[in-house]
Symmetry: C2
Subunit: 414 residues, 2 copies
């Protein structure tokens, strides 16, 4: 057993340590099975998108100059030359004074440079169309290459494939893409007082809440969760479970009970893996201080606090972004503009300097669309505080609390 | 074929129509497989939670009265009587002037009514503990039943099972729960100009973007997606595909091309299902106007616009909440405080009265944690507008646009 030492790090330092672990291997996947995953290649367009000038409305393709000055009171009159079949673009040029019927998505015939919406026209019979709108060139037209030009790099490695990006890949003909494969998180539960959720309890015993919550949140982070069972709280059993977990998983969490003995065994089990290193023993955050991070070869082992609310906060604030990092996401620890919600704090909240506080808050929206954040009071060990909260407010370590009326960013609880 | 008619409804009316479809059947599931699903039963607690007074810190259980007036400069001194084993609560009462060592989660011995944190104490040897803090009764104690009381109804049918609620169910010993089963959305692609994403394209042809985007978003909404293939654009083929889809799926979307012919065939295929009714033919919204809703027995059939950006907006704003409704969610069409992000609009946006507009916006955060929404300009048919946007801003039908500086709510794009 190696020497134990106590190394409390800041949230920022802990995040930097997490970012050093290598991303998951790359695999080729069908596009339809790649939603939410992170690209592992640069996507280059082979074609212009659209491939030709296309109408963005139903109406009539025209030469814009033929409509100049047209209005409700002074319409222009054009001859209907032909109708554009959507899948078979016309190669007949549009003559001056003529128009061609066209539907949304149809390709403009040669010499046409605008489309007038059907609502701004009238069919007058004898193939005469009344145009009640003056158009500028390229009105209601998606230009060839306006979305993407052939040869353009459109998506970079690390891009998370959301709905719009899956659509772009489909449009470009990428039916298979290289992505980082799913990350598997193994969860070991331990603790003298922890019993399975099917077990009866009596005072002194608690059911194994954390492995269920943590595996649900792992799935929400795009990973796979493997519950490795409730392991007896002694060094041999924990070490054996950890070794097995490291064979099958990319990351292993030991979700401990809260006794000091359990915390010691967690640390010792990590240290007993050959070549392992303890990277952090404690984080300067509340809740979540008794979190441990170790590296076993190039895999991470995390010891999470046994307290349910603490475990969930550490999971959401640190482990879920870490899983996204392993899954290949480009900036997993940055909080994008839609991943947190701005709100005004409605009372003063105290905090200790030198520690990052994550305060559970409920949110209420007033008639002016202003969100107000109210700290959820109650002992940190209670489940109730999580159930009543909508999100987490972060108070950075260099701040001594927040004053009422402050504009704050709230991360929704998942 | 039944008579065709054109019935444009408002977004609110369309939502009401969607809400009339019955929820998915109920099934029993393992708790670990129920994350994100909606409860179909009332959950009642069988026990108090916690089952006994428990410590929320590491330290010493005391009689609070023994610490009254204690401080850094004037500590109290107590005799260490015993240590509480976390899984085996002590039945020995704590005598006045004594304390008991306890860890987080440990049960208080009889007569103890507070816990002093270990950081506010000092072991002096000879089993004397120095207490440097005056405690009030029940300081650092989670009271028996403080989270949940035996017999209390803790979760109602329709509750979405997030991380905290999965945790609560585990704590209460619910290893299996009744939930509404997953909803299956079938997606038929059609359109003369639409080809598979593996196919080469030439001007006039486009790849089948929508079935990939829509199935990804269905999965994000907690449903299962079944792509029913690219079906020839004629009434017989479409009707046959729709009939098959209605056998295997809870909802079927026909994602059409944008030609008028395709739109007609979609409507006719819906009408050719025996007993079907067209509920809405057009929604007063932009984009998304050419959306069709029909009921075939108790299943919904939706015709979505062929235009990629329009289809994605209709999917996110209407179909994803509809899938949540079918999946048993209690208030699927209400937008909770964390499902949209308040921002200030940084320019005027025009809108037409009598129509709900969904404007794509990008978001930027300033140094004061204020989010600013900028409308993404560009023709609605372009993919680019979706790629550049972070979310959708809704302009209600009774408003003629929004002025710069308005406080608006933005729904993040998924």
């Amino acid at each position: 057993m190696k020497e134990s030492f106590f190394q409390v790090v800041s949230v920022a330092e802990f995040t930097k340590l997490l970012a050093t672990f290598p991303k998951a291997p790359v695999q080729e996947r069908e596009l339809s099975a790649a939603f939410g995953m992170s690209l592992a290649e640069t996507i280059t367009s082979r074609d212009d998108l659209p491939q030709a000038h296309r109408s963005s409305v139903d109406g009539y393709a025209v030469r814009a100059a033929d409509t100049f000055g047209a209005s409700e009171s002074n319409p222009a009159y054009l001859d209907l030359a032909f109708a554009v079949e959507i899948q078979n673009p016309s190669d007949i040029s549009l003559e001056p004074g003529h128009c061609a019927k066209i539907t949304t998505g149809g390709c403009l015939p040669p010499e046409a440079d605008a489309v007038v919406m059907v609502e701004q026209t009238q069919e007058l019979g004898s193939d005469t169309i009344e145009i009640r709108k003056s158009l500028s060139p390229w009105d209601n037209v998606m230009l060839r290459g306006e979305d993407v030009q052939a040869g353009e790099n459109v998506l970079a490695p690390g891009t998370r494939l959301d709905g719009a990006r899956i659509g772009l890949l489909a449009a470009l003909g990428y039916s298979r893409v290289l992505v980082h494969r799913h990350v598997t998180l193994g969860i070991i539960s331990t603790g003298d007082e922890v019993v399975g959720i099917d077990e009866p309890v009596r005072p002194g015993l608690v059911r194994d809440v954390n492995s269920h919550t943590l595996s649900a949140l792992a799935v929400a982070a795009g990973a796979k969760a493997l519950r490795l069972g409730l392991v007896e709280d002694n060094l041999e059993a924990l070490t054996a479970a950890l070794k097995r977990g490291l064979e099958d998983c990319d990351v292993v969490i030991i979700s401990g009970g809260s006794s000091v003995g359990t915390r010691d065994h967690t640390l010792e089990a990590m240290q007993s893996i050959p070549g392992s290193r303890i990277l952090a023993h404690g984080i300067a955050m509340s809740p979540g201080k008794p979190t441990i991070l170790a590296a076993a070869a190039d895999k991470a082992v995390l010891g999470l606090p046994g307290q349910v609310a603490s475990a969930q906060v550490v999971m959401q604030v640190l482990v879920m972004p870490f899983l996204a990092h392993l899954g290949g996401h480009e900036r997993p620890f940055a909080i994008g503009p839609t991943a947190s919600v701005p709100a005004k704090l409605n009372r003063n909240v105290a905090s200790r300097q030198g520690r990052t506080d994550f305060i559970r808050v409920s949110l209420e929206q007033d008639a002016q669309n202003q969100l107000w954040a109210t700290p959820v009071l109650g002992k940190s060990g209670l489940l109730k505080t999580l159930l009543q909260a909508h999100g987490l407010m972060e108070i950075p370590e260099n701040q001594e609390g927040m004053t009422a009326g402050s504009q704050v960013m709230i991360r929704p609880l998942i």
